[in-house]
Amino acid sequence: MEENNVLLTVNGLKKYFLTHQGTVKAIDGINFSVKKGETFGLVGESGSGKSTVAYSVIGMYRLTEGRIVFRGEDISRESKNRSLTIKKEIQIVFQDPGTSLNPSMSNREILELPLKVHDIGKNSKERVERIKELLEMVQLPTNYIHKTPSAIGGGEKQMVAIARALATNPSLILLDEPTSALDVSIQAKIINMLIQFQQEFNLTYLFITHDLSLMRNVASQVAIMYLGKICEIAPTKDFFNNPLHPYTQMLLSSIPVISEEEEELKPKRIISVGEIPSPVNVPAGCSFHLRCPRKMDICLQQDPLIKEIKSGHIVRCHLY
């Protein structure tokens, strides 16, 4: 991997939360790199820590341990301690636009904030021009500038959130389940729009979702997380055609698909049993052993190390 091609690197990242029920190890030591211009997919169920990864990269948390490096610069700090340039370059789109857009502000004010902070546009008139430009980019009518989020539908709210992320011309956008709350027809529109923007503006995406069928069509690399640790990372085709980790196989075999063709592509049915343990009580050894159909004795004692099986395909499992 050439160093100058890598936009974001995460090294040994740990984020623990102290609660009165115990320490929640939301992220417990993960490593990955995102290349410039690619879509890096992060998949996992609830409790996996995937959203926490995005929140750590955007600077919402103080890291317990580990480093985040963006374009060679160490940004392992909270956003209030980061430079304005970094804040401009990395943006985030949250899952639920109903709570990520302030219901008491108009779209204009929501879109104007990043412009004001980064001094884009010398006066109010120029800013309004830019806002109208952004609205057109996401195919919303320009009169939406006066509307509030509560007056527009879920899909359109999310488009405003995306317009907001694009306002500062960033290089990296973190997308935390951007279409999970939306209907499939609007999802298609937004995903196609995101892909188009990626090519037009040379964007890099960190795309988080639990919808594996969606991931298959958007990501170039996929990482799967379980209880705060990465189980497997692979280029998309390898990930889906040749999943190595038992959890990956279990997840892939449970996807609801709508055609026989797709049914063929799924790995052999692995019946998932049990519930996902709470991140407060992470089982000893390999955190997945309670639900793993292929567990061995060593899995209860030792956490497996990450091994690279072939180029770009790594897995964390005692089977290998």
Partner: protein, 324 residues
């Protein structure tokens, strides 16, 4: 063809609002046969939850205005009978599972108390209630039922809560179960477990189920027959197999094309436009402003249901002359 268990005829429901009445349901027709698993596909705002609530009788009046139509249960019109009788029938025959189990369960009472309250309504003999609670929890495959009865909803995971909601739905020996997006808030692996459980239980008790969802995969795995709903009326009805193999209505086609596929062949374009404003819905076919194959007649008249084959009907003028 056996007699329908539930039949909705030409249901039209409006809601009062500041800008004028919202003409949400525009002549909904639906049939559910005994023991049948019927799916209802529709996106947000199409009126499917309103339809479910109308069947369950939980629409608040005002602002609801019931303009016309009937909901027939075993031949009797629930809308025309007196309130007490319709409540009796619904209490005995209907159960409902909602989308978000956390809001369906009262956070300040234990599971045991909540089950007890519901069982008490249906079970006259006291003393059997705790036993019945444990039996129900076992049916939905919950481990250690005695401990769960003492837990509060917040102490349980999403999957477990949904199982409890399913258990609650099984309490009355009713024949029809309404499930409003029961899997939406669940993780992928848990989703699969819950749907499997639902399938087995519905088969075991020979209940009919109306499963509402906007996730096509869920509908495909659980149902025998499917309705597609758009902006207040049914636009297509077919056996599940027929719909997924050969969708006819442009909206159904658009939905299936927009669904991401595991094959990785990309995602369709989606459907342009948005759902209509119910204050002034489009004339004629409500889908016509978004339809790629729109014709003149679509703008003027609302299409009725044309039966293309024995078990496949579509409300679209493109199929007007394809009657079998």
């Amino acid at each position: 063809m056996s007699k329908p268990l539930l039949e909705i005829k030409n249901l039209s429901i409006w809601f009062e609002s500041f800008e004028g009445p919202l003409k949400v349901l525009d002549g909904v027709n639906m049939i559910v046969l005994p023991g049948e698993k019927v799916g209802l596909i529709g996106e947000m705002g199409c009126g499917k939850t309103t339809t479910m609530k109308a069947i369950a009788g939980i629409l608040p009046v005002p602002p609801t205005i019931i303009r016309s139509g009937s909901i027939l249960y075993q031949g009797e019109d629930l809308m025309k009978m007196n309130k007490k009788k319709s409540r009796q029938i619904r209490k005995k025959e209907l159960s409902m599972i909602f989308q978000d189990p956390m809001s369906a369960l009262n956070p300040v009472f234990t599971i045991g108390t909540q089950l007890h309250d519901i069982i008490k309504i249906n079970e006259k003999k006291k003393g059997f209630i705790k036993g019945k609670s444990i039996q129900l929890l076992k049916e939905v495959l919950l481990p250690d039922p005695a401990r769960i009865l003492k837990n509060y909803p917040i102490q349980l995971s999403g999957g477990m809560r949904q199982r409890i909601c399913i258990a609650m739905a099984l309490i009355n020996k009713g024949q029809i179960l309404l499930a409003d997006e029961p899997d939406t808030s669940l993780d992928v692996t848990i989703k699969e477990q819950i749907m499997k459980l639902l399938r087995e239980l519905v088969g075991k008790y020979n209940k009919s189920i109306v499963l509402v969802s906007h996730a096509l995969g869920t509908i495909k795995s659980l149902t025998d027959r499917v309705y597609v709903m758009y902006a207040g009326s049914m636009v297509e009805m077919a056996s599940t197999q027929a719909l997924f193999a050969n969708p006819l209505h442009p909206y159904s086609k658009g939905l299936l094309e927009a669904t991401p596929r595991l094959t990785g062949k990309g995602i369709g374009d989606g459907i342009n436009g948005r759902i209509p404003e119910y204050v002034s819905p489009p004339n004629g076919c409500r889908f016509h402003p978004r339809c790629k194959e729109v014709m003149d007649v679509c703008r003027r008249e609302k299409p009725s249901f044309f039966n293309v084959s024995k078990d496949h009907g579509v409300a679209c003028f493109l199929f007007k002359n394809s009657r079998n």
